[in-house]
């Protein structure tokens, strides 16, 4: 506990943008075949340092087969909420769930060069206290840490719906389920909220049998993955409205609300439209009557390709789908970054008008067919995937792995972990930084990135930017 608020907590997004820039990044490393323990890499992102862009410390966990995916902080700017009146937590622990093992690691990164495992919560305990499995997204909320899960009970995680549970932000004791009335929600993926406006939005990927052993083509073609987003009354813990984006919009994943809590809109990325292989972004918003609405505002077309160049899964289509697997919104709510993991492209959209996004910049790197090299001449395996933006919006970092078994279907063979960075132009546009190229240990893939002091997908703000 501090006597003053943690200096990395900011009342408004604008103040977070003005804070000192990040010097370190934390990146998850996973062993795709579970033969090595997963780990946390500490990456030097200080351009003035001799070890710029390199891993300067690694921490490996004592188990095999966790499959690290997403992770988050024990506390963020939400601690400054005027409702809680206790701003004295420390941003000190990273909560890292194993999406395959359902085990949760609490890592103390107070000294990043000597980070250690603070606590391990086993899958049995999670199941006993919540009935959930496959923990995923982490957000620091009004009464503790909220964690979404992708699975329910039973061996394959289909016994009961998945949902969100709450964990104490100091003791890391699991408190229990969040939901009081989940309505029709029966699948889960991401969630985020607007704390002062008192709502939460959640999305759907699929149930564990639909992703653990790879994408199930029959389920995808019969539109059985998630395609609904749910709007919750946050503190009443009930679904206020569920919006079906249309069953062809398969896999509604990342939820990115505007950071400024005065704005009542946000975005959701859809991996693939099964009618035309497009990737899509929906804008959701609260209309003048207080009703939730959602509309498709970005589509990204597939690119025709020779079946010989395509993996088995895609041969029949003769095209590369963009596969919108991750999106991230800059702190000033101006640019939305869209990872097209199949095409090998990172798009930057100007979303100043959220209903009319305009493509402002693009980087081509990797890709199923295109296989664009990094400007430094190195091969970039897979495509741009988990993307994270610096608080000041000037740097965009990303890695290249989606999920072990899916990587293998879309990009057969081991292609190597990568983490790169692009600089954002004064008036938009993005360019890869030639000097930023992280070398990962052999046999690992890279997933989500977290920036020291918070980034554009961790912190929730309680005061408007003025």
């Amino acid at each position: 506990m501090n006597l003053r608020p943690d200096p990395t907590f900011h009342p408004s997004p604008k103040m977070a943008m003005e804070a000192p820039v990040e010097k370190l990044a934390f990146t998850l490393m996973l062993s795709p075949d579970g033969t090595k323990p997963d780990g946390l890499a500490v990456v030097d992102v200080d351009p003035d340092s001799d070890t710029y862009s390199q891993i300067v410390h690694e921490l490996y966990v004592p188990n095999l087969g966790d499959e690290f995916h997403h992770f988050g902080w024990n506390a963020c700017s939400s601690s400054l909420s005027p409702l809680t009146g206790h701003a004295f937590l420390e941003r000190r622990y990273l909560i890292i769930p194993g999406i395959r093992s359902s085990r949760i690691y609490i890592i103390d990164v107070k000294d990043p060069m000597d980070c250690k495992i603070h606590k391990i919560i086993e899958a049995d305990e999670l199941m006993a206290k919540t009935g959930y499995s496959r923990p995923h997204t982490i957000h620091c909320g009004p009464e503790g840490i909220y964690v979404s899960t992708l699975g329910g009970g039973g061996e394959d995680g289909t016994d009961g719906p998945p949902g969100i549970f709450i964990m104490d932000c100091q003791t890391f004791e699991i408190q229990g389920r969040y939901e009081m009335d989940r309505g029709i929600q029966d699948k889960h993926y991401d969630f985020w909220w607007n704390l002062p406006r008192d709502y939460m939005v959640s999305s759907e990927w699929g149930l564990p049998p639909q992703f653990e052993n790879g994408v199930v083509a029959e389920d995808l073609l019969s539109n059985k993955y998630g395609h609904t987003i749910h709007f919750w009354d946050l503190r009443a813990r009930k679904v206020a409205k569920s919006i079906d984006l249309g069953e062809n919009h398969q896999m509604a994943l990342e939820i990115r609300p505007a950071h400024d809590p005065i704005k009542e809109y946000g975005f959701c990325g859809v991996v693939v439209d099964t009618t035309n292989l497009q990737g899509a972004i929906f804008t959701w918003w609260k209309d003048d009557n207080g009703e939730w609405q959602a509309k498709k505002t970005i589509t990204i077309d597939p690119v025709p390709a020779d079946p010989d160049d395509l993996p088995d899964l895609l041969k029949g289509f003769g095209a590369v789908p963009p596969l919108v697997t991750d999106i991230d919104l800059s702190m000033d709510d101006k640019y939305l970054y869209v990872a097209c993991w199949g095409l090998g492209e990172m798009h930057q959209y100007d979303v100043s008008d959220p209903m009319n996004p305009v493509l402002a910049g693009k980087v081509e790197i990797g890709g199923i067919v295109a296989k664009h090299k990094h400007p430094n001449g190195e091969d970039f395996g897979y495509g741009p995937q988990m993307v994270e933006i610096s608080r000041d919006g000037k740097r965009v970092y990303w890695t290249n792995s989606l999920y072990s078994t899916w990587d293998d279907q879309f990009y057969p063979g081991e292609r190597g972990a990568a983490m790169v960075m692009a600089n954002v132009g004064e008036n938009g546009g993005i360019t890869l930084d030639e000097k930023f190229w992280t070398k990962f240990p052999e046999g690992y893939r890279s997933h989500q990135i977290r920036l020291e002091g918070g980034d554009c997908s961790t912190d929730s703000f309680c005061y408007p930017s003025v």
């Binding site: 506990m1 003053r4 400054l80 206790h86 408007p464 003025v466």
Partner: protein, 217 residues
């Protein structure tokens, strides 16, 4: 009974009000938030009004039962000792556990009066007034002699007076703070100048309870 003690106790009612008002945990940041969301400074005042109403209701909720009890004149000393002990116990509980009641996080952000009411109860803000109030009752008691018929009237009026004066002081200091932050200091004041008052708050309860206990013995 000497006027200095009475004046001292009334001063304590006002000072505790100022203190509660300044504590961000009692809600002035919510008034700032409200003004920022509505993009007009005048939105500070309805928010402060709601917060004060909740605080006032919590004061009355705690003081009125004690005002009934003071009618049991024979047990006056025991009541004051008991009240002192309760306040000390609350202070110790807050000092030792340093935990926040989770139910407070379930209150919707727009229910400011309810929030303020529950916060004042949960953090012992209302309880802090009890020893002071009982001290005032004791003075009234000595001044008036044992006129049972008017005693209830007197103690109830006294409770109302204490709650009103305390709330006005709280509204004044909290309002000044909210206005200053909204108008001049800016939100950085929140992140840079907010001190952890929890321990100090718990100690205040223990001190007030202790003084109540000592004067009763």
């Amino acid at each position: 009974m000497d006027l200095t003690t009475a004046a001292g106790l009334w001063l304590a009612v006002i000072l505790s009000g100022l203190y509660h008002g300044l504590n961000p945990g009692m809600g002035w940041p919510l008034a700032v938030s409200s003004a920022l969301f509505e993009r007009r400074a005048s939105a500070l005042w309805p928010a402060l009004g709601a917060l004060s109403l909740g605080h006032f209701a919590a004061m009355l909720g705690i003081l009125l039962p004690f005002s009934m009890m003071t009618l049991l004149i024979d047990y006056e000393r025991e009541i004051r000792i008991g009240a002192g002990l309760i306040v000390i116990a609350m202070g110790l509980y807050l000092a030792i556990t340093r935990r926040h009641p989770r139910f407070l996080a379930r209150i919707p952000p727009h229910r400011l009066a309810l929030w303020s009411f529950l916060v004042a109860l949960a953090h012992g803000a209302a309880l802090m007034l009890v020893p002071i109030y009982l001290g005032l009752c004791a003075i009234e008691e000595l001044d008036q002699g044992h006129k049972a018929a008017s005693a209830l009237m007197t103690t109830t009026t006294l409770a109302l007076g204490v709650a009103i004066l305390h709330t006005i002081a709280m509204m004044g200091s909290g309002g000044a703070m909210a206005y200053a932050v909204h108008r001049w200091l800016g939100l950085q004041f929140l992140s840079r100048s907010w001190f952890d008052l929890e321990l100090l708050w718990a100690l205040s309860l223990i001190v007030v309870g202790g003084i109540g206990l000592l004067t009763a013995l």
